[in-house]
Symmetry: D2
Subunit: 365 residues, 4 copies
């Protein structure tokens, strides 16, 4: 398996980069959610290549065609299906890669996994293009979560060594999330943005690529979502975050740096704000014992540098067993982190919707 996710609603993503089309199905999505087409398209546009100087040469017209599940402007409760056609695909570019699996890509593992029958063109089902339907699904989930008072947003926490100001751990205003959403390179500190773009230019100039970290937050989360033991909220969220290609690490709240803390520092003190239990700090990232506590969920995902680089690399020729030089033709994104923010948000929004539906069911959601 691999392309279905969810316990309390199900997301199915399908498609291969150079096939007839890609898309997704959302089964069990709540009925009666107003479909805001402008919002959904703007989310997809945030992810789309071709609009900025980090773009890939290929132009994708990622217009989702909705086949079912929306009627008279609202979700029907039946599966929402969406198809994005593949156009402007040139398969000729990829023949060479059958013999020379690209380092850092899934060309080799995909071949083993599927006994050699995988569609290798453009990465096939492994293509980053498959994140387009994930962003569509995430946008639908954001509309649902918004109706329940939740907002999902993110910024580029770092590109290479350049770091943005992190989210304030206990106070993330909705306006900030809206502003970040409107930016082509969502960062909190404008000076960091300049330095990040310089890093990316430098990587491109050296025919290389560079990685980074996305920090994502969810505000307005009700306390009590998730479960202890084997289905904690962190586990649900991370299981879909690692589905985003190139993610190699996921951390919540203080994350790995909590390992260097003392308990007296790491423990978040509770107090009452009106009727609401809050904490003074949020080192646990809004989740305690696998269950949301009502504070913002804060999660970071580490994204590796684009595996496709312009410079020559050595790789195995699987036919003759020799290590040979490989040049991957075409133009390559020197940094996918700048486009990853809406994808990471989408993954988090999908996980939050699943956790919410587990708690409240479809009858009252």
């Amino acid at each position: 398996m691999g392309s279905v996710w969810g316990n309390h609603f199900k997301l199915t993503i399908f498609g291969e980069s150079h096939g007839g089309g890609i898309g997704c199905v959302l089964d069990g999505f709540p009925a009666g959610v107003a479909y805001d087409e402008a919002f959904v398209l703007s989310e997809m546009d945030r992810r789309a290549p071709g609009k900025n100087r980090q773009s890939t040469a290929r132009r994708e017209k990622d217009l989702p065609k909705i086949l079912s599940g929306i009627f008279e402007g609202k979700t029907t409760g039946a599966p929402i299906s969406c198809v994005i056609e593949n156009t402007d695909t040139r398969s000729g570019d990829y023949r060479n890669l059958v013999e020379h699996p690209r380092p850092g890509h899934a060309d080799y593992t995909g071949r083993v996994r599927y006994n050699g029958y995988n569609d290798y063109r453009g990465g096939g089902h492994f293509s980053g293009r498959l994140t387009a339907p994930m962003v569509f699904a995430g946008a639908m989930c954001k509309l649902f979560l918004r109706s329940k008072g939740m907002e999902v947003g993110s910024h580029i926490a770092s590109i290479g060594q350049i770091m943005d100001t992190p989210f304030h751990d206990v106070d993330i205003p909705q306006e900030q999330l809206a502003e970040l959403r409107a930016q082509p390179y969502p960062v909190i500190n404008p000076r960091a943005q300049e330095a990040m773009l310089a890093q990316i230019d430098q990587a491109r100039d050296s025919l290389d690529s560079i990685g980074g970290v996305i920090e994502c937050a969810v505000t307005g989360v009700p306390a009590g979502l998730g479960s202890p033991m084997l289905c904690p909220a962190e586990g649900r969220i991370s299981s879909i975050l690692f589905s985003v290609p190139a993610v190699k690490g996921v951390e919540f709240g203080a994350g790995f740096s909590i390992a260097t803390m003392r308990g007296s520092e790491a423990n978040d003190r509770m107090y009452l704000d009106g009727d609401t239990v809050k904490t003074e700090t949020n080192n646990n990232g809004g989740i305690l014992g696998g269950i949301t506590c009502g504070m913002p969920i804060i999660v970071r995902a580490a994204i590796k540098p684009t595996a496709s680089i312009s410079r020559e690399q050595m790789t195995l020729n699987v036919t003759n067993g020799q290590v040979e030089p490989l040049v991957i033709k075409g133009r390559h994104d020197p940094c996918i982190v700048t486009r990853a923010a809406p994808v990471i948000e989408a993954a988090v929004a999908i996980a939050m919707t699943d956790l919410y539906l587990e708690a409240y069911g479809y009858a009252r959601s």
Copy 2:
């Protein structure tokens, strides 16, 4: 839900710290695996408190009583069930915590999640004691994986700021894993061990606690386990790693530091070693496109400092809404990282078993 995990076999963990007992059920575990009782008990002993200077005062006799699934020394294929009795529990210690939820613990979120009906004594279902059945399940999975040529091992990568030598990313000898398993404080660099223990002593002396990181490896992994998109191997492994209480971050291979790399550094070059495809580096931690590539799986989990500390803390009194001082009585582990290694290994072994069974089924496993 929360206490069932797995797609191709199912682990169920049950119990509350001060109830009649805790335990687990393994459904769909392969038939015909020889039960090595000495090994299983030694694994459980590695996790058990009371044997070293970081011990909690409570003595646990975590002897698993197997009720089903093993017959004439082999697994039968029917569910393996195991019960560990709770003895030596003193519920009186915990009454105070109903009013004063402990910072960093799930007392508050557990109350919300279960509408106030949760068994609060000793953390109830949230207790670290519930990792005992997980270690039992992990030991069973290790026996199965071993029969398929896989070994799971780990070491303490760091305590506070003190770091051990990391695993060699492409060459982890079986002897090293065996040696680590035999150590009470599994570290690669003996000098790091001394410094770590000093850190722990320091934390205890200041009535505080300290966190750390466990690095875990799986060797002998066949290529082709896992799936792209929504069920990647990283997602499966992380979803259960976050089930281990106190884990706040999970990373594979180079992990978060891959975000600072260039693509030319991060891409692992392939070559042929006899009949086997290998890579010169292992920044992807043995997984590409969500699928194992045959290199060792390397994963790290960040573990927060023990939430229970001896010094006085401020917390909310949920009855009167005031912030009041709280002293958590009893003796507390100043560092659970030293006991976490077998638990992290267990989680990884469970995930690997699920991935293996997905690929090969029960009929020939």
Copy 3:
């Protein structure tokens, strides 16, 4: 797999007839349900052998020992685990069956399924004894459903050719269900009971066994539970009804006889009774398009005659390939239908709880 069921809560059943014990775990069961021990034990007593003239010789003391999930008389929301010890087991009786798989039993298929490692003693995991934890789980679910206004009851619809009066399809008073529950042989028409018992005696006298049908009803069902297409309420209910050993057919409402009807007869006419939409007939058994309509759910399960019979049978000797006579020693229930009613009810109650939790979630259930 095989011994875990449920999407919105999970039931795990474990154990083998002659192992250390059998039992179950209920994960995701709602918190705050009052535990009525007398009711649970009375349900288990309804299933237990040894109390009537159809009894097997073996005395089972099916006292469930609850290890977790109930605290201060209420469910905690954490997994409820229950163990029933196996006592009075004589393994010596079963050696012969390794060579001579019993006709109508799972001796042969169990051996193939588990590559010869299955615990064959007393049927092992296939034993009818495993229905005891199912009845425990069903009793817990009945307590929950009752708190939501639902009642589950049943009667023996037939033994051999002798048929009881069926349930009134649109009007099943709660008193009737209570009366049936109190009967050792629950039938609506007392004269049918006499004839049924005579049939059973006749079967026993001829060293044979006899089958029958259980009809089960759920009243007070809210409209809107279940889903169309691939997870209809009928599919959910039938998937667990076929888990009851010996069930070979399941039908809803008019069931197989609806196939002989005209549409004008089969269609149930709707009308309004106060605020409630009702139907004049209930040929669809309370479910339309996979979704409950608010009328009673009516379902029947066909139960085959006990496979173990006292008379000599011919069967394959798997060692020498010859067909040889087999006598199954011990005393055998000539009819398990009389004990099946609480098991069928339990299965239905479990399915209804899952459907209810899907609709309403845990937060408000």
Copy 4:
């Protein structure tokens, strides 16, 4: 949820009768299965309306457009997605049904389930048209099963009171299944066919409809598929059979009539045929203890008469609470049983594929 099915591969079906299109996604389908387009289209043609005298007036061009998962004539292992456009839909016909839910249909339950947001046009997601993608998915599964030596076939066991000769329970030649597949009205006894068609004509002439039973068989089944207890093969198969609209009963082998048998009759005697264990009779329908025994699987599904009939019916006007006459406009199939055979086969083929993949995994399937 509702529109995703499967544990070891996942089928998702989407679409509403009058939306943009319907279709399905098969995730986890084995790689390397040759795509036989002619076979798939012939299967879909068997289900399609418009070709015979029982046809509905609406012409469906159920040409599946495959968007992904097939490359160079073979399945890739990535999700297979297929879309069938909706054309020739006239929504005007259905406005009246919002007020007057049709008896026997899901108009009322669909409204409750989806809080009034369901697409009511033409039954929406409840439409029998949704069986078209199920037949597509079933055809793919048949191709896979055939590569493993299994064949799925069926015949009309009865229409109203008219019964066809049943399958021979232990000997179903492949040629018979092929012949049945080629018939527009698949029956074993040609005389029964005439009588059935007369029954259908009679129902149509009286502006009514009529039901029936489909008997389905799977040959070449390996022993050892399925599980005891909570996931028996019967439970898996029935859970998707009840997904076929209008199915109200499912039985295996002797089915409900086994309830009238003695154990000595019902028990199937084993013998050895060459290396293969066989049984002289097949009252258990090829499944014992939830596990296939190697004999043909025989299963029957009861199909209710078409709920849409031409004659006037009384139904509730949900706006004013009155019972009022309703005439459902358009032409209606007086009997859907004749078209149901390929749908029932598809459901069974899907279940068998899931059971097979559980046993053998993807790596060797």
